[in-house]
């Protein structure tokens, strides 16, 4: 990516990346937004045609183009469907970066919100944790339920009111309090792994990080969890703020001694698909290019890693059977499309004694969480969540497993809204629970 602030980023893009799309249309049936509207501009090949028109200077960067690129979920289902191998991730991130560079969507309110959230909130660990703590107190003290019961949220503007219902439950203890910096397995040590705690995951699902470490220990790994990790920058990379994404990437790399760890583990799909691309993100940075290459080579999703080392084969012997539970599996977009990891979580779940894995219809169809999409496009997001829940209910399973904090939140919320009892859980938690029953 060029850093010249004056240059149109789509025009600076290697043209062959745009040409790779030969507009055969194979992506259309897999695109949730095209499915919703049947309009070509809401499809991957339509969006690429618009990007190409901008690169060719047949179309200026317009507000309408900006809105289109933020209507796109960035679910990457089109990448899985594309026989021609179009790198939509790269095109999508470049297009959003160009929209931010050119400022076609800028309004004082949007600029302020973006700056507050992307730069300040996610940019400062203390601030993020502070907000997290306040939210925790608001919820744990009963104030939230009181406010909701009294109907005080009606005083909020509509948009904020919708966001208030999205407010996730913050955990009492974050990862650094649950996980020691270095933890050593009881038996033989096979590998040393670095553990990524994430930011959203850290505040809302810190117990999943603990579960991940427990499973890694059981798999014979020494686990190093560097203290005070920051956001990985995926939210920024996916939302057109490449500069900030690069800053975060460098900070995170600096937290790890890459020579010390054989593998770096993430358990959040959305982060993983970004973390694996640090090599591309920092390719032009002389100080970081080499380390970023090493980083990307060592990075693994937890599901991917456990199957790679054959841990799932040991599970039936080491884990204790639980009362038969029917589980279905929702594929996070950035795991199945972004990282092409589809079989491994199923292999882990199937290896658990007592777990009956039932296939979810449309398992690879986006649930509408999609980063901050549930905030920016609430209607489309809700429709996708409803479709997903209906499919989950069809399976008759009381538990759905999914490997991304955004999906976990989205599914918990829609089940709660519709009053359906449903356990939404990370696959690694089910593995950890089975191991603990030993």
């Amino acid at each position: 990516m060029k850093t010249n602030p004056g240059q149109n980023l789509l025009q600076g893009l290697d043209y062959s990346v745009l040409q790779q799309c030969m507009h055969c249309g194979m992506c259309l049936p897999t695109c949730p937004t095209y499915d919703a509207t049947q309009l070509e501009r809401n499809s991957p090949r339509g969006r690429i045609a618009l990007m190409r028109a901008i690169a060719d200077e047949r179309l200026p960067v317009t507000k309408s183009f900006g809105e289109e690129m933020y209507y796109c979920l960035g679910c990457l289902a089109c990448e899985s469907a594309c026989p021609a191998g179009v790198d939509y991730t790269h095109l999508f991130e470049t297009a959003r970066a160009e929209i931010e560079r050119s400022g076609v969507l800028d309004t004082p309110q949007r600029t302020l919100t973006r700056s507050l959230i992307l730069r300040h909130l996610f940019g400062h660990r203390l601030l993020l944790h502070g907000v997290g703590r306040m939210l925790y107190l608001y919820q744990a003290s009963g104030l939230q339920s009181l406010v909701r019961r009294l109907g005080l949220t009606r005083l909020l503007p509509k948009r904020l009111r919708e966001m208030e219902t999205l407010t996730p439950t913050v955990r009492a203890r974050f990862s650094d309090q649950l996980i020691h910096e270095t933890e050593t397995p009881a038996g033989t040590q096979r590998l040393t792994v670095g553990m990524l705690t994430g930011c959203v995951q850290d505040m809302l699902y810190s117990e999943i990080n603990r579960d991940t470490v427990d499973v890694l220990l059981a798999a014979g790994c020494r686990v190093i969890t560097p203290r005070g990790q920051l956001c990985c920058g995926s939210l920024h990379g996916h939302n057109g703020d490449m500069e900030q994404a690069r800053i975060f990437a460098k900070k995170l790399i600096n937290r790890f001694d890459l020579a010390q760890v054989d593998i770096i583990i993430t358990n959040a799909a959305g982060c993983g698909s970004h973390l694996k691309h640090y090599d591309r993100l920092l390719a032009d940075d002389p100080d970081f290019a080499e380390r970023a290459r090493l980083w990307s080579a060592k990075l693994r999703d937890i599901n991917e890693f456990l199957v790679e080392i054959g841990f799932h084969k040991d599970l039936p012997a080491t884990a204790l059977s639980s009362p038969g539970q029917a589980v279905t599996y929702h594929e996070a977009c950035h795991l199945c499309h972004g990282q092409k990891i589809s079989a491994q979580p199923r292999q882990l779940l199937q290896a658990l004694p007592g777990v009956k894995l039932r296939e979810l219809p449309e398992s690879t169809w986006c649930c509408g969480s999609a980063g901050v999409y549930n905030i920016t496009q609430p209607d489309q997001s809700r429709q996708l969540a409803e479709r997903k829940l209906a499919n989950i209910l069809k399976t008759g399973c009381g538990t759905v497993a999914t490997a991304n904090p955004g999906c976990l939140l989205q599914l918990e919320k829609i089940a709660e809204t519709q009053g359906k009892p449903l356990r939404v859980v990370h696959p690694i938690t089910l593995v950890a629970e089975a191991l603990r029953r030993r």
């Binding site: 043209y15 062959s16 040409q19 790779q20 030969m22 507009h23 055969c24 249309g25 194979m26 259309l28 049936p29 049947q38 309009l39 070509e40 501009r41 499809s43 090949r45 339509g46 969006r47 045609a49 618009l50 028109a53 047949r58 179309l59 317009t62 309408s64 183009f65 289109e68 594309c82 026989p83 021609a84 191998g85």
Partner: protein, 462 residues
């Protein structure tokens, strides 16, 4: 340009696009290197709306280009400057499955795969399976008379159309055909509209013929170190009086690209593979599969693998359907041809394509429906390289000329559209070309439906 407001009155609200960001994505179809912006895109929902739009087009003299999902491979649904694109995707209901007469009545915007799935729920089978069937519309299939992988045994779209509702350029609505198996009343007008590429009318309903679903099927994969041997196997199977459902051919370039995408375990080192499928009664399937395996080995196949499950068969067929798009992995621009020759001439045609590639220093990936003589030599090139594009044109001309020498056709299933228009007169001759023009003039005297596709209309002789 006439007032949009008048057009707006004819259609349901929210059915017209005119902004550049909305129109640019309709400026192309599945064909390489063609782009043209229309004046507007409209989405009618009923036959009456289509009729109203066509009357408007006559009155204002505005050309109308009908489009489904825009997956065509000859530029047939490419807009022309100042034209209206009439997009059928909102006419998307399956209206009836008649299990007593084995027919299915549908609107034109229904996706081909949905029709196949709907038929399957009743134990019936809609055989035509064009490569793009996951997203192509049935209306587009009828207008282009699309083929597919099963053409050899089951024929093409034409063989399954029993009736059509058509809106003529002047807005008149008519039904052609019916549910009768036999019907010789008058000229077969229905057949005139099948494959007419949107130049004679707008298809608003399609009555399809279904057949009982085959009980058994078996898929075989034969591997060769010589392309000619694969072609000879095909000729030998046909000569042995076996008509399999599918006989698909992929060369080495295509095998590599498909494998990169689909990961189904195709042998990258092979010079060619044949994907063969037989379906029908279990006893016949077993017998034919055994015979095809023997014939392939007799014709120097290195090995023949049999798919172990229905899922594996489907995976192989699905991978094959991705061949054209997968070839785009190795070059910025892929230009796909569709020549068809009598099956006895396959080996000569395949060898000649290789020679032409060498002569013009071009990369050509070849795959296709060998069982029905339909080949897809695909130029792997770059539209921005003017010198190479010129060589592509020369090579294409030679391939077409040799095809005609062998008694073949310039297009087996993609249609003439714009891409093959220059070569049609040579194939048909003056008398047939004039007949085409006379028919077009009779039905569309103002030349407003998809003008300039297939051929250019000439002024009527006084």
């Amino acid at each position: 340009m006439p007032e949009l407001s008048e057009l707006r009155r004819l259609l349901t609200a929210g059915s017209i696009l005119t902004e550049p960001e909305d129109l640019i994505p309709y400026g192309f179809d599945g064909t390489a290197a063609l782009f043209q912006l229309p004046w507007a895109v409209i989405f009618p929902q009923t036959t009456d709306e289509v009729a109203a739009v066509l009357r408007f087009s006559q009155k204002e003299g505005i050309p109308v280009v009908t489009r489904g999902s825009g997956t065509g491979l000859s530029g047939g649904s490419l807009p022309m400057a100042g034209s209206l694109v009439l997009c059928t995707v909102r006419m998307n209901r399956i209206l009836e499955v008649d299990a007593e007469n084995l027919t299915l009545l549908t609107e034109p915007g229904v996706i081909t795969l949905k029709i196949a799935e709907e038929a399957a729920t009743k134990g019936l089978f809609y055989p035509p399976d064009p490569g793009s069937m996951k997203i192509s519309t049935i209306g587009g299939n009828v207008a282009e008379n699309s083929g597919g992988l099963r053409g050899l045994k089951y024929g093409v779209t034409r063989n399954y159309v029993m009736g059509l509702e058509v809106v003529l350029p002047n807005g008149d609505i008519t039904w052609l055909g019916n549910k009768c198996v036999k019907d010789v009343a008058g000229y077969n007008l229905k057949d005139l509209f099948i494959g007419s590429e949107g130049t004679l009318g707008v298809i608003t309903k399609v009555l399809l013929r279904l057949v009982p679903a085959p009980v058994a099927r078996r898929t075989l994969l034969a591997i060769y170190d010589d392309m000619g041997a694969a072609a000879e196997t095909v000729s030998a199977i046909i000569a042995a009086k076996i008509i399999p459902c599918t006989l698909e051919f992929l060369d080495r370039t295509t095998i590599g690209c498909v494998e990169d995408f689909a990961h189904v375990g195709l042998p990258r080192e092979a010079a060619a593979i044949l994907l063969m499928e037989t379906d029908g009664h279990p006893a016949v399937v077993a017998e034919e599969a055994a015979a095809m395996e023997r014939i392939a080995l007799e014709n120097h196949a290195l090995s023949v693998q049999v798919a172990q499950s229905a899922e594996e068969s489907i995976r192989l067929a699905t991978a094959r359907r991705s061949a054209y798009s997968a070839l785009a992995r190795v070059a910025p621009t892929t230009i796909l041809e569709d020549v068809t020759v009598p099956r006895s001439e396959l080996a000569r045609m395949v060898r000649r394509i290789q020679e032409i590639g060498r002569k013009y220093d071009l990369r050509i990936g070849t795959f296709g429906h060998m069982g029905d003589g339909n080949l897809h030599p695909t130029f792997l090139t770059n539209e921005r390289d003017t010198a190479e594009m010129h060589r592509v044109e020369e090579a294409m001309r030679e391939i077409f000329e040799f095809t005609l020498e062998l008694g073949g056709s310039i297009t087996g299933e993609h249609g003439v559209g714009l891409a093959k228009k220059p070569f049609l007169p040579q194939m048909l001759g003056d008398v047939s070309m004039n007949l085409l023009r006379d028919i077009k003039r009779t039905i569309d005297p103002q030349n407003l439906l998809n003008p300039g596709k297939i051929f250019d209309q000439t002024p009527a002789v006084a």
